[in-house]
């Protein structure tokens, strides 16, 4: 039994399929399904096995100068921290970014696939794809895999002819256009800081400081977020990485340790 993977197709097949090795390679990609007695419960178990909780904090917002995108860098498996240096902001192409929340493999694979599709659109239509179009492509693919256990909670941020664009796309098939989003287990804490400090007329420095602070506060309160707070800016000329600060050091930067006053202090007796 073969699963329909026309969503994965990025090029029309020009060569006729023969029964030889060349025909196998040029055939459209497909996933083999296992022969099991009870496929439904097998699928349920497989989904539970690979289903990682969306332990992360990512955020993105539109302001007057463009889009600010920020994320933490911790990967956790239950209680264990498997990595403190995961790249959660994925560079789809030089003017579009995607954020990663949920399954790392799912996000990385489908973002790269989206990048391929966007490039093919450019070549076929002699113009860049819009953020609306790119997010729709991804949302349609994820919708076709709905219920099969993909775990993707991503934001597509970019700059196209109509200006800055930001969409939220998830593996349930949802796609939302908006100006402020935060995704992951640390998102409630990030929203608190982001919503109270947000102004449309911020400068780039103010916006990047707001994004960094929001990620920092989320890493402080949420156990599944931490590591490095990365901040990216998407403007008319494309995206640029602004900063990547270790949140352990950021904490003492925002809350410096002041030595407390002592009443009596013991000092070394001077040598005679």
């Amino acid at each position: 039994m073969k699963l329909d993977t026309s969503g994965l197709e990025s090029f029309p097949s020009l060569i006729s399929h023969g029964n030889d090795v060349a025909g196998e390679i040029s055939a459209p990609p497909s996933f083999e399904l296992p022969n099991s007695n009870d496929f439904d419960s097998f699928l349920k178990e497989a989904i539970q096995m690979v289903k990682p909780a969306k332990g992360t904090t990512t955020l993105a917002f539109i302001f007057k100068d463009g889009v600010m995108v920020a994320a933490d860098s911790r990967a956790s498996m239950g209680g264990y921290i498997s990595s403190q240096s995961v790249k959660k902001i994925i560079e789809i192409n030089p003017y579009m970014l995607g954020t990663m929340a949920g399954g790392a493999a799912d996000c990385q694979f489908w973002h790269r696939n989206l990048g391929i599709k966007c490039r093919l659109h450019e070549l076929a239509n002699k113009r860049r794809i819009s953020v609306t179009g790119a997010s729709k492509l991804l949302a349609n693919i994820l919708y076709s895999y709905r219920g099969m256990g993909l775990s993707v909670g991503t934001m597509i941020a970019g700059w196209d002819e109509t200006g800055p664009g930001l969409y939220y796309v998830d593996s349930e098939g949802g796609r939302l256009k908006g100006t402020r989003f935060s995704v992951g287990s640390g998102s409630p804490y990030a929203y608190g800081v982001l919503d109270s400090g947000y102004k449309y007329d911020m400068s780039i420095e103010e916006a990047s400081e707001l994004a960094r602070r929001a990620i920092y506060h989320a890493t402080f309160r949420d156990g599944a977020s931490g590591g490095v707070a990365s901040v990216y800016y998407v403007g008319p000329t494309g995206w640029k990485k602004l900063s990547g600060d270790d949140v352990g050091e950021l904490h003492y930067h925002y809350n410096p340790v002041t030595p407390s006053t002592v009443e009596h202090e013991m000092v070394e007796a001077a040598a005679p």
């Binding site: 156990g223 904490h251 340790v257």
Partner: protein
């Protein structure tokens, strides 16, 4: 997540030359959310006996209050402090009383016994004692702690070196655990003094 991982904790105790050190993290959480970053997990029974309680925080607090009560009664009757070995047996008995509805905590007991000989032990939630000559660990970060202590421990360390070793072992282990950390609390106890220190750690 299991009931032992509800609040998150990390505890370690190490033996040195005529001294011991006991250290804990400072986080109190409710699953992934951090509620407090100054939670006391180690408490003093008397000047040469400390107990740390890992696991569910409410059971740890209740159990500690019960133990203080029992020790005060002992002091009134015997007119002296309890030896660490005796105290460990007391804790074990109290935990086993609740064999079919246990306290969800793992104690780490550290003290100086006769002739100021250091004594450490840990127990599971129903009172199985584990005496060790070098170090004992408990909490959600216990696997990382075992590895770190095994690698860093040397026998017969003096108080200052023991402090360095236990602090490094604690901080490096909690940095691999989502549910514990946010600072550290270390007590180094010698026959003459008790030194309490707070560690600056990663707050994520």
């Amino acid at each position: 997540m299991s009931i032992f991982e509800y609040n998150g904790s990390a505890l370690v105790a190490m033996v040195g030359k005529n001294c011991f050190a006991i250290a804990s993290d400072r986080r109190l959480g409710v699953q992934l959310q951090t509620i407090a970053t100054d939670f006391q997990r180690i408490s003093k029974i008397h000047d040469k006996l400390f107990i740390g309680l890992a696991g569910l925080a409410t059971d740890a607090q209740t159990l500690f209050q019960r133990l203080v009560f029992r020790h005060k009664l002992y002091q009134l009757r015997e007119e002296r402090d309890m030896k660490p070995e005796t105290f460990a047996s007391l804790v074990s008995a109290i935990l086993y009383e609740k064999r079919f509805g246990p306290y969800f905590t793992q104690p780490v007991i550290a003290g100086l016994g006769d002739d100021d000989k250091p004594f450490i032990c840990t127990m599971d939630a129903i009172g199985a004692k584990e005496l060790a000559k070098d170090f004992v660990v408990a909490g959600t970060a216990s696997e990382s702690l075992y590895g770190a202590c095994e690698a860093m421990f040397k026998p017969d360390m003096e108080a200052e070196e023991l402090f360095e070793t236990i602090s490094q072992a604690l901080l490096s282990s909690v940095d691999r655990d989502c549910l514990s950390g946010w600072g550290g609390h270390v007590y180094v106890v010698t026959p003459t003094e008790v030194k309490e220190r707070i560690l600056k750690g990663r707050m994520d």
